[in-house]
Structure formats: C-alpha cells, structure tokens
C-alpha cells in the first residue's frame, strides 16, 4: 500500500541529507498516484494533495527522524477528517411516519439496502413500511416484497400500472392511516443525466417530504462518482450517502470523491447481500482502506 511506497521513496531520498521541498514533491506525487489507483477522482486527489502539501513541507516532516511515518500520519489524519469527523446516523427526527427515499444509479444496491435499513429499524422497534416505487425494472416490486416477507416487514402493495409518484403518495397515506413509524421508498435506478427521471424524483420529494434522501453508490465506482453524486445532490439536496459492496476488494476512493464534492455525510456501508450486512460508516476505517 501507500506506507510501503512512501517508505521506499524516503529511503531513496535519505542518502542525500536533509529533505528539501523538491523531495516532498516527489512524495506528494506518489501519494497522488496512490489515490488515483484507489479510484479517487482526479480533481479531488489534486486538491487533497495540495491540502497536505502545506503540512508536508513543515518542520514536523523535514526535521523528523521518521519522515515517512510523519507523512503517512498527515495523510491519514487529513483523509479521516475529510471523510467525516464523526459517525452520522439516520435522521428520524420528525412526526411519524418519517419518510426515507433511496436513490442512485442502476444496480447500485438500493432495493437490497432498503431491506437492510428495514431490518435495522425493526430491531429499533420501529414499525416500518417498505414501498416498492420502481415500476420499471422487471420484478422490482416482487424483489422488495420477497425481501420484506423474509424480514416480516410490511411491504406496500404497489400497483405497477400507476406512476412512482402516485405510489409514493398513496403509500404515505396508507402509512399515516396505519400508524407506521418509518416509510422506506425504493426508487428505480436512473442516470443522473436522465432529466425526466431526475424530475420524477423531485416530484416524489415534493409529495412526501422525506426526512432522508439517501444516495446509494457502489464502492467500485470510478472517476464519474463525482459527476453522478454532484447531480443527484444538486437536484435533490441529498441528506446522506450509503456505499455498497464494500465486502469486495474495491478500494473505495469514490467515498472520498463523493464526500469531497457534496459535503454530505456518509452514513452506512453495505458489506454483503444479506439483510444484516449494513454497518455504520467509520471515517478512519475507510481512510485505512483507501490508503492501504
């Protein structure tokens, strides 16, 4: 990982006596490469390296007996603080039924994440209603119904012949009448450049006034994570991000990219296909993953 790389760079530089700013540039280049290899966005990586340059050319590094360790520490600290200083949970602070809307690109894990959130909330003694509002993908409604059944969580009986907007409205009505605490709305995957579909999400937001609009992103997303997240945030003013499929070996640089450009909190991570595979997002753990 980065630690070995920097140790190598510093070892090669050590022979020349005291470190110079030019030497540090070499080190920063190495860091930038490592970030790009971990799928951190090009511009975000550049900004990040510029930010740590300040500290890297300071006394703590240039006068240190273990400059590699110092730089690693600076990089790790900076990344951890960028990813979010502290844990950030779901915001359920509203009169019930509290609505949570899940959004994101096709295949990112929204439907599965809905069931994971349902399980978590059920464990917190909340009465949860799952709402399948994807009328586009074949068997999407069936998928959420089956997941709900496995959890013994109610699933709203969405009519596939009406619009997702109508389904959301009716489901909220149903939730009020039947005293549900939380309503989880699963939306169809969509491209951020698909204007009518982004507009559809706006209308759903307008109609059900969600307390949380969660952007569900795949941990293996590459450079475009920035443009996708920015657009979803611009159109919807998302309240949080969930990064899925972190049980694989994707470095997850998209986490840094998304946080850096939207400023919105990373709340949870998906760590598997089953309904119990949802964990809180820990900035320091994510930083280690990206850097190692």
């Amino acid at each position: 990982g980065l630690t070995e790389k920097l140790n190598g760079v510093f070892k090669a530089l050590k022979g020349r006596g005291k470190l110079t700013e030019k030497d540090i540039d070499l080190v920063l280049k190495e860091i930038r490469m490592a970030l790009l290899e971990a799928d951190v966005n090009f511009k975000v990586a550049k900004q990040f390296v510029a930010a740590i340059r300040e500290r890297a050319v300071g006394q703590e590094v240039l006068e240190s007996l273990t400059p590699a360790q110092q730089v690693i520490k600076i990089v790790r600290d900076e990344m951890t603080s960028l990813l979010g200083e502290k844990r950030c949970d779901l915001d359920l602070g509203a009169r019930p039924p509290v609505t949570i809307l899940l959004t994101g690109l096709q295949g990112s894990g929204k439907t599965t994440t809905c069931s994971k959130l349902a399980r978590r909330l059920k464990n917190e003694k909340k009465k949860v209603l799952l709402v399948p509002a994807d009328t586009h993908r074949p068997a999407a409604i069936t998928q959420l119904k089956k997941l709900g059944q496995d959890l013994a969580v109610d699933v709203y009986n969405s009519d596939p012949s009406i619009s997702p907007l109508e389904i959301s409205r009716k489901a909220l009505e149903y939730a009020r009448t039947n005293t549900f605490d939380v309503v989880l709305i699963d939306s169809a995957g969509r491209l951020q450049i698909d204007e009518p579909l982004m507009q559809e999400l706006c209308e759903i937001k307008e109609a059900v006034d969600p307390k949380e609009i969660l952007f569900v992103a795949d941990a293996m997303t590459g450079q475009e994570a920035v443009n996708v997240a920015l657009e979803f945030d611009k159109v919807l003013d998302i309240t949080g991000v969930i990064l899925t499929k972190l049980d694989g070996d994707a470095r997850g640089g998209a986490a840094l990219s998304i946080k850096a450009v939207t400023g919105k909190p990373l709340k949870f991570i998906g760590t598997g296909e089953k309904s119990d595979a949802l964990e809180p997002f820990y900035p320091d753990r994510m930083a280690s993953r990206i850097l190692d």
Binding site: M33, L36, E37, A38, D39, F42, K43, L105, Q106, G107, S108, G109, H136, R137, P138, A139, A140, T142, Q143, L144, K145, K146, L147, D150, L191, Q192, I193, D218, M220, T221, G222, Q223, E224, N227, V228, K245, D247, G248, D249, A250, R251, G253, A254, E273
Partner: protein, 277 residues
C-alpha cells in the same frame, strides 16, 4: 477543442485528466502518454491535435485486437455462461441477447441460474416472455448446477442453437462463490464436454480500477472468452477495459447502452475511443 495548441506541460496535464477521468487508470494512462511522448520527442507530432490523434490510435490498437464477434458452434447447442459481480447488468444483457439472436433466426433457450437473489428468476422470466423464448428454471434456493445441467439437457433435446445461462452476481473475492461457478461449469461438461463455449464477463462502465481485479479473478476461476461492458449510456467512459484488454487479451463482444431490450451493440473500438474524447 485542443486544436493547434503547442505541446507543453499544461497540455499533458489536460490529457492526463481526460485519460484518468475516463477510468483508463494511472499506469495505463502514463504508459500511453509515455509511448506517444517518444514520438513527440522525435518531432513526429507537431501540435495538440496530432498528439490527441496519436493517443487515440494507441488505444484503438489495443482495443481493435479484441473486436471479435460471438460465433456459434457448427453443430449442437452453443452454451454461453454469463458471469460478473453484483448488479452489473447480467440478467438484462441476457434478455437483450436472447431477443437479438432469436431475431437472427436462432432457437434460443435461457436458464435461470441465479437461484439466490430475491426475484432473480421472476426477472429473467419476464425477459424470456418479452423475447418469446423458453426458460428453464427451478425454485428459489435450488442448486444452480442442477439448473445448468437441466438446461443443457433441455437445449440438446429441443435442438436449441443457443443456451444462455444466467448466474447470480458474486464478488470475485468470495472463494466459495467462485467455487460454485467452477462447479456449474464442471456440471455442464457432463452433458456437453466442451461446454460452456462462451464464458461472458459483464462489467459495469461505472466501475473503476476494480474491474481489472474482477476480470483477473473470474478469468482464473472459470476462464473468460468474452467481455460485455454495460451502462455506456451513462457518463462514465469505461476506460478500465483498456487495461483489461492489454493484460488479459479477452475479446470484447458487446456494449450495453440502455435498459431496453434493443440497447445492445457489438463492440466497436473506434466508436469507443471516440467517445472518450
């Protein structure tokens, strides 16, 4: 846009951003710029446009080698197994392929080999109905190898030209799931010794460098004979397939450009490279 600009540091940085921004990856981008850089140093390239075209040629050379249309066996059912990590578009791609080859006059059969994920069988069933073709399926939780076995038997019995087997999404790092895939493949050989004739890895164009790891590990486990890259109708460029092509030399068959049944095209290196710039 770059036009007659002179070749300088800023231009190189701009091109670096385009290449890396297309998910081509640091190492591959630098290799491309390095090799093109030689030509710049030898004064063979005069301005930004010439440089850009040289880069395009470089990439196209790597990808052109992988342009290779899927071909059918002269006799007996041709068996295609579709694999890949979760959510990349395997099932949807199978739906598209089924209709396409049916329209070409082939007798197509598909198998619901994903017996794990909720409503996976229902999802493929709907695609089968859309294409007007038969589907072999068991129940949720059935052994996928049994589904594979039955489907090849059925393909032989019905004189199908093409059998496409869907499999559950799985992360390449999960050893037990990769073992399951090997078992599905082994079971197929019991019915048709050289099946599957095509093992198609589906990669999502939004994926970054992790796609290289996916391709390597799937290749090691089941041997890949083709690649499909989906969701190219989005903004990502899918540049990671350049590194995959360079390192693994696997034919790139199809690209997915939408969620509709017609949204499938044969891979064309020139168009792909053009889209990057």
């Amino acid at each position: 846009v770059l036009g007659k600009k002179t070749i300088d540091e800023d231009l190189i940085e701009e091109l670096e951003e385009v290449l890396i921004g297309a998910d081509i990856g640091v190492k591959t981008s630098y290799d491309i710029l390095e090799s093109v850089g030689d030509r710049v140093r030898r004064k063979e390239l005069g301005d930004a446009d010439a440089l850009k075209n040289a880069i395009k040629e470089e990439i196209q050379a790597i990808l052109h080698r992988e342009e290779s249309v899927f071909t059918f066996k002269p006799e007996g059912p041709t068996v295609m197994m579709v694999v890949g990590v979760n959510g990349v578009g395997k099932t949807t791609t199978i739906g598209k392929l089924a209709l396409r080859y049916k329209k070409e006059g082939k007798n197509v059969l598909i198998a619901a080999g994903d017996t794990f994920r909720a409503a996976a069988i229902e999802q493929l069933q709907i695609w089968a109905e859309r294409a007007g073709i038969d589907i072999v399926k068991h129940h949720d939780g059935a052994d996928p190898a049994a589904v594979a076995y039955d489907s090849i038997e059925a393909a032989k019995a019905r004189g199908a030209d093409l059998l496409i087997v869907d499999t559950a999404g799985r992360l390449h790092t999960k050893i037990n799931l990769m073992e399951e895939l090997k078992k599905i493949k082994r079971v197929m050989t019991k019915v048709i010794p050289d099946a599957p004739h095509e093992v198609l890895l589906v990669v999502d164009a939004t994926t970054g460098q992790n796609a290289i790891s996916q391709a390597k590990l799937f290749n090691e486990s089941v041997g890949l004979t083709g690649l499909a890259i989906t969701k190219l109708d989005g903004t990502p460029k899918g540049g990671v397939i350049i590194a995959i092509a360079d390192e693994l030399d696997i034919p790139i068959r199809y690209i997915g450009v939408g969620e509709g049944v017609e949204d499938l095209r044969d891979f064309n290196a020139a168009e792909f490279v053009e889209a990057i710039f």
